[in-house]
Symmetry: none
Subunit: 233 residues, 2 copies
DNA sequence: AGCGCTATCATTAGCCG
DNA sequence: GCGGCTAATGATAGCGC
């Protein structure tokens, strides 16, 4: 948050990531300490990283274990939270599914249309002059390019990981543009869920993401010129 | 840290203390989330307060318990684990990348070839008789179907186990065939790594997957009849 | 790699309705 | 007590050494 605003996503550059980690973990611990002091509350933070052999901990490891012990001894009230969490997750999943479904549908429609155009071209060619033939060829070519572009959106790794340190349980895979878009979507939903405060685990965590934007998934489709005029109406 | 700089000490005024707590705990959790996201590290924070009936926690309670458990057990062996984990993760990532790359390449080749056939058909149609025209049409249609099938492989949700049993921290999303395949691949690799059992975080979690098979990703391509004879040699 | 610098961005103390 | 506002302090990304 300085010379430039950084996107809330994994930092690709190794040295930059390490530097950021060092700086941020330090000030995070300071924040924990301040909170604890100013408000007289018990708090602890634990950060595992590939950069430190030992996890960063505040307050002292012993203190942490004590705080944690307290935390673990509340199985019943935790349930509520878990339920909420699951609910939110389901909402996220549903929204994602919708996007993927739509995207899929659009892709298939693109292909089908292109094929139709090809077939129509093949079958109706006898009646075309050179100009029309040339136009047809170019049109098909353009649409092929467009489809390839869409394929990229699905499968091309977005500018991301060299591959070392992703959060443990999340499968380490190259993020595609689609995945990046889905992640943004997720953040937005979690943000929406925020208003119901104490019951939501995420009520706080994701507030910061509110100025992130969901990449325009359908820009392509909303552009009427994308498909061009029908060739064989 | 605003209109006036406050001393780092317990705030005596009750309402002020509560207000400060609310604001600060919120941004603290945000910071934890940012650190975790930006640097790809595991982190958790727990804050007990008289203001909330439940402790504020990040990330989810379950996640926290997991992170904490890790912390409590091993003060010094932690490093070994991290190294091993990173190594395994890199291996998995690499293998997955290979598969995705190949799959992508194949897809694109299919499409390109089909387009070529279409274009060739369009341009060479004048010299074809009815029989050849019909064959061409059917060939294109077949290949379209094949491509659609491939699309399914990429994007269609695989028949999945009753949606509940997913490992905790894995975002609940519809798995595509590709994703299922990749997961199997990951399991196989993790299985290979397993022989040194309790040192890997994954050694247990994924054991259940060992009888899954990696679907024959390239069956389609190994079948020479898949492309059919070239139409315009 | 790590440290210091500083322009920018982010947090927040105090106030108001 | 809460949410919004703004001035002021705090955090930090990018750079140069």
């Amino acid at each position: 948050m300085a010379r430039k605003k950084v996107k809330l996503q994994w930092i690709m550059n190794d040295t930059a990531r390490r530097t950021t980690y060092k700086k941020r973990v330090k000030s995070l611990m300071k924040k924990v300490m301040e909170l604890s002091t100013l408000c007289g509350v018990e708090a602890c933070a634990i950060v595992y990283s590939p950069y430190d052999p030992q996890p960063e901990v505040w307050a002292s490891p012993m203190e942490a274990v004590r705080v944690i012990g307290e935390f673990k001894c509340r199985p019943d009230q935790t349930k509520k939270r878990l339920d909420q969490e699951i609910y939110t997750r389901e909402r996220v999943a549903k929204a994602k599914e919708q996007v993927v479904k739509q995207q899929k549908k659009n892709m298939r429609m693109e292909m089908q249309n292109l094929m139709d155009q090809c077939l129509a071209g093949v079958q109706g060619l006898q009646h075309l002059n050179i100009k029309e033939l040339s136009d047809l060829t170019w049109s098909i070519d353009d649409r092929l390019k467009a489809i390839n572009h869409q394929m990229e959106f699905f499968h091309h790794p977005a500018p991301q990981p060299g591959a070392t340190a992703a959060p443990v349980a999340v499968p380490v895979a190259q993020n595609t543009h689609l995945e990046v878009a889905l992640e943004s979507l997720e953040n937005q939903i979690l943000l929406d869920t925020a208003p119901m405060p104490r019951d939501s685990l995420f009520s706080v965590a994701y507030r910061g993401g509110q100025d992130m934007m969901l990449p325009g998934l359908y820009d392509h489709y909303e552009d009427p010129s994308f498909w061009g005029p029908p060739f064989f109406p």
